[in-house]
Symmetry: C2
Subunit: 437 residues, 2 copies
């Protein structure tokens, strides 16, 4: 296809009329679709229903060590669940794991909140420090940025690359500024690009020499086993082992959950870190709770048994999700490839596709889609403070709609991308001509 930028004004104007008419037709179809959040679909939830049968009134509720999961106690998780989550996260030992409640987001919120009020491993609480800054690789996960913003933490955007965050910038900022206390990372199948950090990136993270003793890497390994393909899978180095090798055992908190393995909201979450870090967390946790839901921890252990059970289950998820990703990607390729107005990622796992349109077009595209009944993640959401400096990134979340809905949604999306792009190109031409006068 011919690049839109090579079209004459007349050609663009003709295209605009065609696209405008198509858009009006689309609006008339009364769509009502949601591609905004990384939500599992009904088929995925239905697929996992036998999980609900694994514990019932005739089950034994004891751990292997004979502890009753129905009662209080075992504040930091049952040993079997620690082992399962260690395997899922690729962490060498269950000793490095605490198993928590249903949401890894809450684990991360608590880490930040605890650092504000009690400090990290004996350091001054952040609320008593003048300035606290976080590095935010972007495009990134909006709920990470919401936590740091909520606590009044200054956020510094770090550009993302296919291999992870710009490590030159990360090293410079972390090693020179003692106000920099953390960095948000989604190291595998990143939200929203689906990028996985290269071995070099992981090793450079592990070798950081932070100016602040209470600096931590917030390693949100949300998509550790969320592959889309059997034959094409990303693997990343285990950050905990790399940090230990680099003499930096305490520099990282790793977080994960089974929210997108079993049920969103009905999963279990985990925190993996050095013993010193976990002991520090436990000293607050013991005040915060008598114990998380150990019955649900046991349900996970009995159902999956080990990493092989998890992997087998994730293959079933992939079989449902993969065609959806492919459907969207096919439409993007067919309709936008070669037009010079957009780029997008082609992830091998995770829950999202990251879409880059022309500068200044993202908000307009999202608005046009919404007007015609297709809800996308708000433009800007993938950047700190919800402000995308180029207004060009859009996160596509293809998992929730049915394949049929998705085809309709993708068709509308590319139509809106084209329409807004042509409008923008015409405005630019008009501006250039005006200046030339």
């Amino acid at each position: 296809m011919k690049s839109y930028k090579e079209l004459s004004r007349e050609e663009l104007e003709q295209l605009l009329r065609q696209l405008g008419k198509a858009y009006e037709d689309a609006k008339g179809r009364g769509l009502k679709l949601d591609m905004s959040r990384g939500k599992p679909s009904v088929s995925q939830l239905d697929m996992g229903m036998d999980f609900m049968d694994i514990l019932n009134s005739s089950s034994d509720f004891q751990t292997e060590a004979g502890l009753d999961t129905r009662n209080y106690g075992l504040m930091d998780g049952i040993p079997e669940a620690k082992e399962l989550m260690a395997q899922m996260m690729g962490v060498p030992s269950a000793e490095q794991v605490i198993v928590c409640g249903n949401a890894s987001l809450t684990v991360m919120y608590d880490l930040i909140s605890r650092s504000m009020t009690h400090g990290v491993m004996g350091n001054t609480p952040w609320c008593k420090q003048d300035r606290v800054k976080f590095l935010c690789p972007a495009p990134g996960y909006d709920r990470h940025f919401a936590i740091t913003q909520h606590f009044g933490i200054e956020m510094i955007t770090v550009p993302m690359t296919e291999n992870g965050p710009d490590m030159d910038m990360v090293e410079k900022l972390v090693e020179s500024d003692a106000c920099v206390k953390g960095i948000w990372c989604v190291p595998k199948y990143s939200n929203p690009q689906g990028y996985s950090y290269s071995d070099e990136t992981v090793r450079r993270f592990a070798a950081l020499k932070p100016a602040a003793a209470d600096f931590r890497i917030y390693w949100d390994n949300a998509y550790a086993i969320h592959h889309l393909y059997e034959d094409k899978q990303d693997e990343i180095l285990d950050i905990l082992s790399e940090c230990e090798k680099a003499g930096n055992p305490d520099i990282v908190y790793e977080i994960s959950s089974t929210s997108k393995v079993t049920f969103a909201g009905g999963g279990i979450s985990a925190l993996a870190a050095s013993k010193a870090n976990l002991d520090d967390v436990r000293s607050s946790l013991t005040v915060q709770t008598i114990g998380f839901d150990k019955i649900n921890q046991l349900r996970h252990v009995r159902y999956f048994k080990d990493i092989n059970g998890l992997k087998a289950h994730m293959r079933k998820h992939a079989a449902i999700i993969r065609p959806k990703f492919e459907a969207v990607l096919q439409v993007l390729e067919k309709e936008l490839d070669g037009l010079g107005i957009a780029e997008w990622t082609n992830p091998k796992g995770g829950y999202f596709i990251s879409f880059e349109c022309m500068e200044g077009c993202a908000k307009k595209i999202v608005a046009k889609c919404k007007e015609a009944g297709v809800v996308l993640t708000g433009a800007g959401a993938t950047y700190p403070y919800g402000e995308d400096p180029d207004d060009s990134n859009i996160r596509l979340a293809p998992t929730f709609p049915t394949p049929e809905e998705l085809a309709e949604a993708a068709d509308l999306f590319v139509l809106c991308v084209k329409l807004v792009s042509v409008e923008t190109l015409l405005e630019e031409r008009a501006m250039v001509e005006k200046c030339a006068c």
Copy 2:
């Protein structure tokens, strides 16, 4: 029986020898019993096992409004669970309720933590204020005091009476000191006495005119439906309604959970408060979580249906617990009544008996019990900072052991009480005689 205080030195010495021998015999029995925590017993847990069957792979997981509890969303709880918890707490409307995760302790921790970092309804965060004080009716619940201590909040002990905290003192402190930001209350079947607040106490709470705009009553209604008897039950006024009537709608947070209804650790918790308070909490909660475990919320709703289902279930718990309370109380009455060395409460609900021994004896009694294999709640635990000024209060938790174990534990306990009391009386006599020389 003759009061120990009326005995001669010789009689006391003879008694000491008898008790000493009995204690040595008891030690030889190799007991290993735990009366330390308010834990449900295995019989109680076994009794509720059909709860585990109510949701299975063939169940419908939709709320009445058609929302899928297996997926993300409904951050502040499913409407049906709000209704159930409102009924359990005796709160007029489900609109006044947020349903949270498995632990009311965490709800309370979060309330305090949030007040530290973000303040209460727009007021200055506590971490930016010079001093923050809490009133702690004592004897009280050790885990309440642990939260306030953890956040460096100054704790002021307020004496407890059969009708609730000393309200003259509460009013004076709350209304004169703007550093006083809260008071911990267990208004019904209090921990550890089993006292329930009188209507006058509740109304005086509701009518407080705090010096601090961000003062709140932390109303931990943990034992709202935890009666021991069918014919003798305490009822308390609904604090939310009373506060509203008194023109003080925002002055209280009420907290409860089903940890001692279904499973300890596998229950659901709730926060009830005014709309303004709940909106304030929601503004943080929406950053903290995408949603709590709604499947477990639905499981509760489907199992209990309404307050009648809850009440019927609690009658079964009472049938198991009541004989245990009675067994302990019988031993106390039979062995200690009239000796003038102890007093204890006779609760109609809740999980504890509060025991008052002679001043300076509690730690010794608890240590003697431990030495002979019976673990009690640590002496002092029922007071702020773990320091009972009189060293006289011991919390007895009779629910966990079997009736047979309990009989043995109670026998040992009264033996230790007598032994330590006689030792103490003899020391006092010796001191008096020494002074008289």
